[in-house]
Amino acid sequence: MATTVTLNINGVNRSVTVTDVNMKLLWVLRDMLGLTGTKYGCGIQQCSACAVLLDGQNDYACALAVSDVIGKKVTTIEGLAGVDPSSKVAADANYVKAAAAWQQYQVPQCGYCQSGMLVRCVGAMKAGHHGSQILPEMPNICACGTYARIKQAVTNL
């Protein structure tokens, strides 16, 4: 049954009409709101390509239903980077540090998993983790194998 709900995405309330409230957040972001930085990788919470922050904490957009996020704040990679065209929220301070480290160590290869990598890194920083403590909070899969650079990049965060 089509339902119209209001979701807070990157600091902006947005109205979306979904066929049912079990629809996963991942597809609302990608197919309805054009926020394609959040990636589909597995759909079963294994790879973290779909990582988003829910009320500032790491979560999986592939597993969160629309009904799970009503009344909560969703932050995507575009929100963290300050590039969501619908949002006036500036780039997140932790993201800016992390992205600078990612640039310094030339982390991405294909880059597909890196949205999720950065989101989970920022989520870990927000939870008070620093340096190598961040790594266990990032169980993301990267098939290119950028892990060596990620280990370097988180060292000074």
Binding site: M23, C42, A81, C110, Y112, L118, P136, Y147, R149, K151
Partner: protein
């Protein structure tokens, strides 16, 4: 023109083609021909005259002083775009950051009745993006630079070349200090083509290179940090609908009836798999080419899948999951089982009565039909006596599984089809020109000859465009065009609905990606050798090596070569890493046997070397153990023997030795940390040589790789930091495969469908990877530049296997360790 970012984050529709050339704006354009000299042409000459050569890319210097290179190679994370920009910057004498890389597509263009191909090199594989374009781009940049200088000479009236310098896109006339920007000179320079014909870039001392060989930041990285980089699966077009594919779970199965469209969905579209045989316009129609998309038990024209189309991906997935089409299964599917594959492989490994003129290794029993033995090198008659009379004979079998690609971005293609008008394809593809051929042939097959016309025998592909997005990894899987065919079929079906044409984005779920991959073939390898003496100075009297593996090329319709004078006998990729070994091994017999499997096969990062380097180098370790030698010293001595023998491969042995020594030094061979164990391996692929020393700790059921020390000789490395990244990434790819990588099959159904059953390592398991690279003293055209992107893979598994043996006493001959 945006010159701050070389790689646009939105998909561009651009071709290294006639139409791009004509619209490229004012200025100087140099066409770059494949494998040869950069070819300077004026715009009018190109537009009017018969035009030779296989143009691969266009180098343009605009009047706005922007340098752009339009090239069809694919950026899939290997960093080749920055490498290509470095080559241009070096000889054109411009800042690396001022070179704009534009993604080219593919085209097949004609001049009158004389068909020539354009964009022929628009495919990316074989670790070739940089090396295959290297000298052509250096030459093109050199010619463009000299044409600019010639234009400056017209302004000064002085034709003495020594009076001009070219720095940072400025020609300076040194007697007066007068400066002319490239943009100012570009239009006039475009008339100078005839004066630079045949001009080539010189051999250059490495120390004199200013950009090539230096680490530069990659321009594609910034958009990959913000979520703004557009991959195939991210393409958004107005009014687009979403399709998800559901294949018959059993390989070779097909629909017995077209399923009804699920309530609420837009359409359920049956998807067929087609083979096409056609007079190939890229070969001037002189040869018929087979574009074979069927694999294994599939039959051309059969409907092997359904696309479920809906308003969003979520609903499309749910409709597809709920759909239960009636499938017709092929005879033979029930024999597609792991145990059967292994039994077949084992039967062929010791079979002598194969249909071949050469006897094999030992006697055996009857054989599965259609297996064929190809003798790649040597002969049984010459080798067997040397082996049999040696002091010790070592005879072992190695087994490797089918492996999935598992690129992080699933397969996806978006099609904007306007019947009778145009068809634009947005795809994560490594093979733009194959995609163009496929779409042209497929549209004709589906009845739209208006946009895919053949006039007087000549193809007109101008209404079809192939636009390449960023690739979310490929690892070889995006050399296939199956998903592009499916997307076009879906778009054509949608166009016939009452609502009329709409763009279609087609996506595979991860489950479809794993279970309908085109897998790295399995292999059973037997190695048998005789060794004399003991300790580090023991010698190898003879080697008999047979790899039994399904042939990728043969499954695609290629007839394997049987004429040694015409090239490698058998499947050349199937024996890569096993032939041309520079070890002194006495007499060598190398055999390749096709294993008649019906599992879909594909090219997986490092292809045959991933099989053979594991077997050859594991075997070298086993020989060393048998004679009580140190594995490093044992290898060294076999290479030294070749070097001192002055044999034809002595120079190659010298290079292997240098790489082996570099890795051993870097990895402190023989001095592992307390509790750690080491393994070493060396091998060659794609004209490069790789060696690794692995240090790990292990129990019978676990491995912790601590350190990997890598030495690479690819003759030249254009961007060292990118090459190091490729080695680090190759280690991960190889670790995944070595520890866990295996697809399993029951009655023709792939069993492992997602990352919960197909394990991949995470950052917490990442070893320390150190890399040492080789650069030439003088960069010479006679030097052969090797590949980099796939080289980090093949040497890891054997090095781990030996270190594991040292740690546990157990020799693992069957990969993966824990899968």
């Amino acid at each position: 023109m945006n010159n701050s970012s070389k790689t646009p984050d939105a998909p561009a529709v651009s071709d290294p083609s006639r139409r791009d050339f004509l619209k490229s704006g004012a200025g100087l354009t140099v066409a770059v021909a494949l494998g040869g000299v950069g070819l300077s042409v004026s715009k009018s000459a190109e537009a009017s005259a018969a035009y030779p050569g296989l143009v691969t890319s266009w180098l343009n210097v605009s009047t706005a002083n922007v340098v752009s290179l339009t090239i069809g190679t694919t950026e899939m994370g290997q960093g080749s775009r920055s490498g290509l920009a470095q080559i241009i910057a070096e000889d054109l004498c411009v800042d690396i950051n001022s070179v704009v890389l534009l993604q080219g597509g593919a085209t097949i263009a004609y001049t009158g009745s004389n068909a020539v191909s354009r964009g022929y090199a628009t495919s990316t594989g074989g670790s070739g993006a940089v090396r295959n374009n290297f000298w052509a781009l250096r030459d093109a940049a050199t010619q463009a630079r000299e044409m600019l200088v010639l234009a400056a000479m017209d302004l000064t009236g002085d034709t003495l070349r020594a009076n001009y310098t070219t720095v940072n896109a400025v020609v300076t006339y040194t007697p007066t200090g007068a400066k002319y920007t490239y943009g100012q000179l570009a239009d006039a320079a475009s008339t100078k083509a005839a004066l630079v014909t045949g001009l080539t870039a010189p051999d250059t001392p490495f120390s004199a290179l200013s950009v090539i060989g230096k680490s530069v930041p990659r321009a594609d990285i910034p958009p990959k940090l913000t979520g703004k980089a557009v991959y195939g699966v991210d393409v958004v077009l107005k009014n687009m609908v979403f399709a998800v594919v559901k294949h018959c779970p059993t390989f070779g199965g097909s629909l017995s009836a077209v399923p009804a469209t699920p309530k609420g969905a837009i359409a359920a579209v049956p998807l067929a798999v087609y083979d096409f045989t056609f007079p190939d316009p890229t070969k001037n129609y002189t040869a018929s080419t087979l574009l074979k998309l069927t694999r294994g038990l599939e039959v051309s024209g059969s409907q092997t899948a359904v696309a479920v189309v809906a308003a969003d991906t979520w609903n499309a997935i749910n409709y597809a999951n709920a759909l239960a089409p009636a499938w017709k299964l092929p005879a033979g599917a029930t024999s597609l089982n792991d145990a059967q594959f292994l039994a077949d492989g084992n039967a062929l490994i010791s079979q002598t009565t194969l249909p071949s003129t050469q006897p094999g290794i030992v006697t055996g029993t009857s054989v599965t039909p259609s297996a064929t033995l190809y003798t790649v090198a040597g002969s049984y008659a010459a080798t067997e006596p040397a082996v049999a009379s040696a002091g010790q004979v070592v005879d072992v079998v190695y087994t490797l599984p089918y492996v999935a690609h598992a690129a992080m971005e699933v397969l996806s293609c978006t099609v904007d089809y306007k019947p009778g008008v145009s068809c634009t394809i947005y795809a994560s593809t490594q093979v733009q020109q194959n995609a163009l051929k496929l779409v042209f042939l497929l549209l004709r097959q589906l009845g739209d000859t208006t946009i895919a016309p053949i006039t007087n025998g000549v193809w007109d592909t101008s209404r079809i465009q192939i636009s390449t997005t960023f690739l979310g990894g490929a690892l070889g899987r995006k050399l296939e065009v199956d998903f592009i065919s499916q997307a076009v079929q879906t778009a054509v079906a949608v166009s016939k609905l009452a609502a009329g044409p709409r763009p279609v984005k087609l996506m595979w779920t991860r489950e479809q990606d794993f279970t309908h991959d085109q897998y790295r073939p399995m292999a059973v390898v037997r190695a048998r050798a005789g060794v004399n003496g003991s300790g580090n100075t023991a010698t190898i009297a003879g080697l008999e090596y047979r790899v039994v593996s399904p042939s990728i090329a043969q499954q695609r319709g290629s007839v394997l070569n049987t004429n040694a004078a015409a090239g490698v006998v058998g499947d050349s990729q199937g024996s890569e890493g096993a032939r041309d070994l520079p070890y002194a091994m006495g007499s060598q017999l190398i055999e390749y046997v096709t294993h008649p499997s019906q599992i879909p096969l594909g090219y997986w990062r490092s292809v045959g070397a991933s099989i053979n380097v594991f077997a050859v180098e594991s075997f070298m370790d086993e020989l060393a153990v048998a004679v009580g030698a140190d594995p490093y010293q044992f290898r060294r001595n076999q290479l030294l023997s070749t070097i001192s023998s002055g044999a034809a491969n002595a120079a190659m042995a010298q290079r292997w030795l240098a790489v082996l020594d570099s890795a051993a030094t870097l990895g402190s061979w023989g001095k592992p940390a307390a509790g750690n164990f080491q393994g070493i391996a060396v091998g060659a692929a794609f004209n490069s040589i790789i060696a690794m020393v692995v240090e790990l700790s292990a129990t019978a059921t676990s491995i912790t790789v601590k350190k990997v020390s890598v030495a690479l000789d690819s003759y030249l490395v254009v961007n060292p930091d990118s090459a190091i990244a490729q080695m680090q990434g190759g280690v991960v790819h190889a670790l995944n495969a070595t520890l866990y990588g295996r697809q399993t099959f029951v009655n023709g159904v792939a069993q492992r469908a997602n990352f919960n059953t197909y394990s991949m390592i995470r950052s917490s398991s990442m070893p320390d990877v150190q890399v040492v690279l080789t650069q030439p003293t003088t960069l010479a055209r006679s030097g052969v530049i090797g590949g980099v992107g796939e080289l980090g893979v093949p040497a890891l598994a054997p090095a781990i296997a030996h270190a594991f043996f040292k740690a546990t006493g157990k020799r693992v001959r069957s990969l993966p360790f824990f899968g």
